[in-house]
């Protein structure tokens, strides 16, 4: 089974057909996706802005993370489910879309950046948890996260303008 056969099969599932023909299905899914990505970006930015030293400087980093990240994850799950449904509405179109592929790579990079922060950078967090100025590694992770997520939102919008042939 090659990739095109799989894309065709996905495009013929009943869920895909409903998304293609319903007068409100796709836009409802897209609206959920926008609200979800807005909450992902806004809540993760709370942590990133603390790391780079722009906001919440009087709060402990661990406290900012504890307040924000559970909601980031909840919103991310919402964004992932609605995103998969959007892909399902036109599997071949998304698969061959350039901005869509770049967006997936950036999502992967954002994930790696987060893993590096959560597994390596936080090891000595007790030493700088309450300090307004964080170590260079933490500032880099925060800055990269902001760049990745801003780009992901931009690419998402770009997909919308390149999905259909002009």
């Amino acid at each position: 089974m090659n990739i095109q056969m799989m894309l065709d099969w996905l495009g013929e599932t009943s869920l895909s057909l409903w998304l293609q023909t319903s007068s409100w299905g796709f836009q409802a899914v897209e609206t959920v996706h926008v609200i979800a990505i807005a909450l992902v970006f806004g809540t993760i930015a709370t942590v990133d802005l603390r790391l780079v030293g722009v906001a919440s400087k009087s709060s402990a980093i661990t406290a900012v993370m504890k307040d924000a990240l559970p909601w980031t994850w909840g919103a991310f799950v919402m964004a992932a489910i609605s995103g998969v449904l959007m892909i399902l509405s036109a599997p071949t179109t998304y698969y061959y879309n350039g901005p869509f592929r770049i967006k997936l790579i950036l999502l992967l990079l954002a994930g790696i950046n987060m893993l590096v922060f959560e597994t390596i950078v936080v090891r000595d967090i007790q030493r700088w948890d309450r300090q307004p100025r964080t170590p260079i590694a933490a500032r880099c992770c925060g800055g990269l996260s902001l760049i990745f997520w801003i780009s992901i939102v931009g690419l998402g919008r770009w997909i919308g303008f390149t999905k259909l042939p002009f």
Binding site: V34, W71, G154
Partner: protein
């Protein structure tokens, strides 16, 4: 309104935005990033009111951390929204859901502003009653829902048929 939209669509500013194909996606991206800051900032303050976040700070401290981001982002939203309207006046001003969005935005912005003004003056009252009153918690959830409804109406503009 249709007459005005058509006149606006014929102006040089509107023609430029229509011809430069990158302007509208860029403005929409800025618009979404700014709405992200509004939703999340309102959300973090509401979570504090509900007792689900921000236990290390008072309500006033939480509000002072997030409120400037709400109002700055709102200005960014108005400016980017203005460019989008000039670029596609008929698509925006000509559909009912755009005006529903403006109505919801007025309700959301006014109730958020009223809460923050009152919080500045009566911080102790809000701090104490937050824990006791279900009505305040319910209001926090309703105001967040109205901000979400603004986003829903915004996305719906893209799919609306001309109605005016």
């Amino acid at each position: 309104m249709m007459h005005f939209s058509e006149w606006l669509a014929g102006t040089n500013a509107s023609m430029t935005i229509q011809e430069q194909l990158w302007i509208i996606p860029l403005m929409q991206t800025i618009h979404i990033l700014a709405i992200a800051m509004v939703l999340s900032s309102v959300g973090m303050i509401d979570l504090k009111i509900l007792g689900l976040a921000g236990s290390a700070h008072t309500l006033l401290e939480t509000s002072r951390r997030f409120a400037p981001w709400i109002w700055t982002s709102l200005i960014v939203l108005l400016l980017s929204g203005f460019v989008l309207i000039v670029g596609e006046p008929v698509r925006e001003l000509g559909v009912t859901v755009f005006w529903i969005k403006m109505g919801l935005l007025a309700v959301a912005a006014a109730s958020t502003a009223a809460f923050h003004l009152s919080l500045q003056r009566h911080a102790a009252f809000w701090e104490d009653s937050r824990k006791a009153r279900g009505l305040i918690k319910a209001s926090a959830i309703i105001v967040f829902a109205v901000w979400c409804a603004v986003v829903v109406a915004g996305r719906w503009i893209a799919y609306s048929q001309l109605s005016l």
